[in-house]
Structure formats: structure tokens, C-alpha cells
């Protein structure tokens, strides 16, 4: 579904992605973790071309992103992206946030788009918020709406860029639950996150990155029990018991 072949990316002199090789299969749930500045956000942002790559090859659903013939807007419509800061459209109601792209890009009628949006709002547990504006919702609620907005396009892939990092602790659970349900439904997901409970329980594979390189790539049991790389060990120690 997604294939990185020797991908490099620089921000000026900073080598943010260094020879990335990665293959994510359809239906797979991959969690990407690593210290801040390790390149993990950049990694998933390259998948929908929010960050173009400088070198190598990146194939998404069989299409080469660097190929001029690839219609990038069409590509992006197939990929849901959930941001750390939610990025809902503040001037639109919850319902309009979800129906905007389905009406304008998928050309659904207003009635169909709204019906579909309501189904999704029920799925994320917020049907009563349809007419609220984003500023009237809590962070957890905004993030659930953002997930519904992504799902409305019936994407083949969902990308999550630290979806719970901006949330108060008591709201993290509700968002992870929605993501877990989504994973169980068979969605292909790449999740940049430090939520190790989620990674352990839901993911098929954990990727550990540092300095723009993939240092470790393993199923969760293996990663947690027996991390190979020193930096991965240190990272796990810090994140699982931050006081020590």
C-alpha cells in the first residue's frame, strides 16, 4: 500500500529523512515512535506530499508521488490525515466540516453528505454536536470530529500525526478508542504516537526512528520485550517510567 525506497529529505542542511525503506501493507496498523526531532512527523507528512521528498521513491497505492503525472489532489483525497492540533475549520459547524470535502470533491448531494456525516458522528460518539462550532468543543471532541472528517472521504489510508499529544489526559482515552475501533475495522493506519498502550494493544508493527533513520522495526511484543538498539532501549525506559 505504501512503499518507501531509499527516501531522503533535507530541510536546508538538516537531513530529516535518511535512507528510509519501509513497506506498509493494506490493513496494517503501524505505530511510529521516537524522540522529538527524529523525523517521524516528516515521515508521515511525505505520504500525502505535505512534505515532498528530495530523493528516492515513494509509492502510495501503486502511484509514484514524484511522478509529474500523479494527480496529487486525487491522491490526497484517498488519504485521511489527522493533525496534532486537529485543524478543524473554525468558520464551519461540525457537520459542514465533515461534508465540505465530500460535497465539493466527491460531489455528494447535501442530503447524502449529511446522512453520511451523521453516521460518522454517531460512530465517534458526537451526533448531538452536529451544529456546534469547533471552538465550542473540547480538544478530545475536536479530534474525534477531525477523524470523522477524514473518514468521510472513505480513505484507503489514515495517517495520524501525534493525535493525542495536544489533549488533556482525561480526553486521550476517547480518541484512542475511536482509533482502536478503526484499526479493528481493517483500516490501513500509520500513527505517530507515544501512546505505548495503544501501540502494544492495537498495532501490528512498531517503527522506532531517530536522527531521520529507522533504527528498529518489530511487532509490539518483540519491541517492548527485547529492543535491539540502545537508543530504543533508552527511549522506552524514559517513556514508560519518566521519573527514572
Amino acid at each position: 500500500m505504501i512503499r518507501f525506497e531509499g527516501v531522503h529529505k533535507w530541510f536546508d542542511k538538516l537531513h530529516v529523512l535518511n535512507n528510509i525503506n519501509l513497506h506498509v501493507r493494506s490493513g496494517e496498523v503501524v505505530v511510529v515512535c521516537g524522540p522529538s526531532g527524529s523525523g517521524k512527523s516528516t515521515l508521515i507528512r511525505t505520504i500525502n506530499d505535505l512534505e515532498p521528498i528530495n530523493e528516492g521513491k515513494l509509492l502510495v497505492d501503486g502511484k509514484d508521488l514524484s511522478d509529474k503525472k500523479t494527480d496529487i489532489n486525487k491522491m490526497r483525497a484517498e488519504i485521511g490525515f489527522v493533525f496534532q492540533q486537529f485543524n478543524l475549520y473554525p468558520h464551519l459547524t461540525v457537520l459542514r466540516n465533515i461534508t465540505l470535502a465530500t460535497m465539493k470533491i466527491r460531489n455528494l448531494s447535501r442530503k447524502d453528505a449529511e446522512e453520511q456525516a451523521m453516521t460518522l458522528l454517531k460512530r465517534v460518539g458526537l451526533p448531538e454536536k452536529r451544529d456546534a462550532y469547533p471552538s465550542q468543543l473540547s480538544g478530545g471532541q475536536q479530534q474525534r470530529v477531525a477523524i470523522a472528517r477524514g473518514l468521510a472521504m472513505k480513505p484507503k489510508i489514515m495517517l495520524f500525526d501525534e493525535p493525542t499529544s495536544a489533549l488533556d489526559p482525561e480526553m486521550i482515552g476517547e480518541v484512542l478508542q475511536v482509533m482502536k475501533d478503526l484499526a479493528l475495522s481493517g483500516m490501513t493506519m500509520i500513527v505517530v504516537s507515544h501512546e505505548m498502550g495503544f501501540a502494544r494493544e492495537v498495532s501490528h508493527r512498531i517503527i522506532f526512528m531517530d536522527f531521520g533513520t529507522i533504527l528498529e522495526e518489530a511487532p509490539p511484543e518483540e519491541f517492548f520485550k527485547n529492543p535491539q538498539h540502545d537508543r530504543a532501549k533508552q527511549f522506552l525506559k524514559q517513556i514508560l517510567s519518566p521519573m527514572h
Binding site: 489532489n73 490526497r76 484517498e78 493533525f83 471552538s135 472528517r149
Partner: protein, 235 residues
Amino acid sequence: MLSYKFDWAIVTSGKYFDWIVSGFYVTIKLSAVSIALSFMLGLIIAIMRMSHFRPVRWFAHGYLEFFRNTPLLVQIFFWYFGSYKVLPAVANDWLVKQDFEFAAAVIALTIYTSAFIAEDIRSGVRSIPKEQMEAARSSGFSYLRSMQFIILPQAVRLTIPPLINQFLNLMKNSSLAMTIGVAELMYQARQVESYTFKGFEAFSAATLVYVAISFTITGLMTLYDKKVLQPLKGR
């Protein structure tokens, strides 16, 4: 001793009152048409100014600098006395049959004001967090459609206060159209003065009408801001 005898009746009833009223209508029409057109043109120039395509950006920049830095009166005279000289005879024959004074005034006011509006809208767009554009693009919207549905609707809301200023300026500037014979409010007040020598009354009446129009524009925009925009603003 003040020897001047006030005669307010001439501007509150009768023929001269009718002149003032007809001037009022022309001012409203001239302002309304120019406001609508300058807003649309301002939007287009603002978008061009932010284009990733360099020649388009430069063109918009040149446009802005050129029209912001020439007096409106010069522009009005240019369109009225200058522009038709380079047109073919057929076009001129057609123009003469139209209300060319009015059209020239609209063109000058529109182009002049659009330069200012474009800059206001651009600064509104720049204050929208870049993540909004990213969210829109990641849904599959093109750059222009992201602008249309997500960025500009938010930016224009932020731009309401400076837009009120531009619309008020445009309305007041429309009085310059009298110099090419558009029978707007100022032109009519001048006429009343010429016929009656009651300059104080005539220009007081014009002043009051201008103030009334200004208050109406401000009131409408503020109401719009309060009823429609404020409820949408973030925390």
C-alpha cells in the same frame, strides 16, 4: 452682526431638495456598484499577489503599487479624458451613447480602491494559521479551492474592520466624480449653491447626507460582524 439670512427651506423641500435627493441616489448607485466591483477585484488581486507563479505575483504587486500611489483624481481624468483616445472609432460611438461619465467614475473608483482592499485581504489571509491550508490540501482541495472554501471565508471575516474603512473612503471619494460631470450628491449641492448662493445650506445638506450614508455602512457591517461573524470566532 451676522448679515447672512439662513434659508433652510430650500434644501428641505421643492426643486433644490429634489436635486439633492437625485444626487443622493447617484452617490448610492455609484458607491454600491464600485464597492461590489472593487471587493471582487481586490479578492482577485490578493489571490494573484499570493500566487506561487512569479509573473502573476509580480503583476499583482505592480498593479498595487501603481494604483495606490497615483491620485484618484488623476485616474478619474485618465479614464474619462484619456482612455477613449486609444479606442477604435466604433467603440467610441458606442461609448458616447452610454453613460460614459458614470462608467469612467466606476472604473477609476473600483481600480483605485481594489488596490487597498487587496492588501487588507492579503494581511487577513496571512493571519490564518498555515495549518488551515494544510488541512484543506490534505483533504484533496487544490490551492485555489482551499482558498475559496477555507482560507478566504476566514480571512474576509478578519478583514471586516479595515474593509469598512475602504468602503467609507470609496463612498466619500465618489464625490470626485463631480469633476467629470457625474451628477452625484456633491455635484448637485454645487448646483444648488450656484442657483441660490445658499452655499452654507447646500453643503450642510450634502455633509449630513454623507454622514448618514457612512453611519449606515458602518452600522450594516458592524451588525454583520456581530450577528454572523462573532459567533464563529475561536476561543
